[in-house]
Subunit: 351 residues, 2 copies
């Protein structure tokens, strides 16, 4: 609101911060981006015959990251990874990202240089991942908020009518997953323990965990959570080779996301516990109900020739799609002890 | 994060809220929207030869609206109006909106029905304005936050190469504005006074001001703030008739937004105070530095035949564009007392 604030102590106003982000976002040319940061809107120039896939993901401190667990770089990386993972699930190629950033005043006006500030490091983590996937930061907004938060918008490109959907799976299809399950969530108890250790030693609590205070044997598990790799290449391959009949990304956990896919496709599914690619350090419960894996879950016709890996990420068949029947569970787990119904127990806000 | 919460008291989870929003967003067909709410991404189908204009606006409680001033419907209307106004400034036609909504737990799990909840009424206010501009709500996200907030993404369509920009004004151009200035900000002291009156009478403080407690003679001024009308029709006309050489919307205040236009175009500007269309109830200072007007500020070549009104909104010439000169102010105000430099004093976060 336009009541004026004139605080002579304020070190860094909105325009200065936006200028910093604009400078860091760079001036590389991208064929699909006609106009980037600096006007009322950015301008995208879609290629003929392409549809644009659009997703927004709101990442908030306390819910999606914690100041004592996640470094600012990890928080920025994870915020962008969530959106890229949604593009991957549609088989879309990233075109542009937009960042609406909410910052408490002390995060916006720190004492040191921008690149050492929480916000500067958050943006750096985000831009590092954006560069990996050749995704320009094309715009956004900035506002004061009681906690740091970021809404990330990702826009991707996909030939018209060819996007992978949640709603197109059919009974008889086989069920596949990329990579490994459960690692993203199995890391959490370690963060909790390591953070409490630091607290007891009176070490800084708001910089997140850094490589120096993560034990070597935990690094791969914790990196799985801190720096998830969206499966863009895998989604693109599934789409261009017409391999998948339906797809969704695993952000909220297999039991929840498979339920979404089944509901949108009006089918049921059977998962074989013995076939789940459980991440080292995780267990069946994490694999079923943990979130933050950012793998792709997809279905394919029984005759489809699914490669055993795509871009060095393994692909595993974990079950099959069944007709939905009244009174029958949407998801059934096959275990040595027999068939068990699975209820969605992944992440849901406000539950 | 995927740690599980199972609160038996919780009345309404994320999926239920998203279901409510999805139902309210409706199932109307829009030619440019191939797929709406319900998958990992929405799918837009741009028409051949069109560019897409994209803008994000983060609206937060305490900064952009107040629970004791703004009804939830007004907060939702204003959130969407900010984005639509950015599209108007580019001469773009709205194609789709996305809403990332942050809610405190008590806003998400109220005791009454969804349509009577703060979030339900916010979404209704937003969707009412969206219907006016035939803009489908095509997706979004939901998260728990300490204060209510909303990031609004607007996507519009504009023929390639024809968007109105901030950066293309030239010395010699004349400076125009749509509608009236200063009303959006001049309403604020009245909100303050009316809210304190209610407080003294021990009336509810969090429902915002309603028509019943706004005196009749203030209604038009206060509505100017509560329900701003984005100048979509005016932006489209300026673009299709090739009337404007540059444009920006007045969200932060004339002195700030004209400075943006001048900086991006590398020009200076002269504003004649006597020509400013000051809203009844406002004054010169509000007209120069108040925000929230959501009018269009544009420039046009001296020979351009600018209509006196577009879609019943008056268009006024308020000054002219000059070459930028070192040591000279970017904006000069002509008054009966002479020429005065104007510094940007509109809204800036973290200042």
């Amino acid at each position: 609101m336009p009541s004026q604030r004139t605080d002579p102590q304020a070190k860094r106003g909105e325009l200065a911060i936006l200028g910093q982000i604009r400078a860091r976002a760079g001036r590389s040319r991208f064929p699909s981006l006609a106009l980037g940061i600096g006007d009322d809107c950015a301008l995208l120039r879609p290629q003929p015959g392409q549809e644009l896939a659009v997703t927004t993901d709101l990442t908030t401190c306390g819910t999606h990251f914690r100041l004592d667990w996640h470094s600012p770089e990890s928080a920025g990386h994870r915020a962008l990874a969530r959106g890229l993972s949604d593009l991957a699930a549609m088989g879309a190629k990233p075109v542009a990202a937009f960042l609406s950033l909410g910052l408490p005043r002390e995060f916006a006006n720190p004492t040191g240089p921008w690149s050492a500030s929480w916000a500067g490091r958050f943006v750096d983590g985000l831009l590092n991942l954006a560069r990996t996937y050749k995704t320009p930061l094309a715009g956004g907004d900035l506002s004061e908020t009681p906690i740091p938060l970021a809404d990330i918008v990702l826009i991707g490109s996909v030939p018209a009518g060819q996007a992978l959907l949640r709603s197109t799976s059919r009974p008889g299809d086989l069920l596949y997953v990329t990579g490994w399950l459960g690692g993203g969530a199995a890391a959490l108890p370690h963060f909790d323990r390591l953070s409490k250790q630091r607290q007891r030693k009176n070490q800084a609590r708001t910089g997140g965990l850094t490589p120096s205070n993560i034990p070597k044997h935990l690094k791969s598990l914790l990196d799985r959570h801190l720096y998830p790799q969206p499966r863009i290449a895998q989604g693109l391959r599934l789409r261009t080779r017409s391999l998948a009949s339906a797809a969704i990304d695993l952000s909220d956990g297999l039991s929840t996301d498979l339920t979404h896919l089944c509901e949108e496709s009006r089918v049921a599914a059977e998962v074989d516990a013995a076939l789940l690619p459980i991440h080292p350090g995780a267990d069946l419960s994490y694999a079923l109900n943990g979130g933050d894996d950012y793998e792709l879950l997809f279905t394919a016709a029984p005759g489809a020739r699914i490669p055993r890996q795509i871009a060095r990420v393994p692909i595993r068949c974990i079950g099959r799609i069944l007709p939905a029947r009244k009174g029958q569970p949407t998801i059934t787990l096959l275990t040595p002890e027999g068939r068990q119904p699975v209820t969605p127990q992944g992440w849901e806000h406000f539950r």
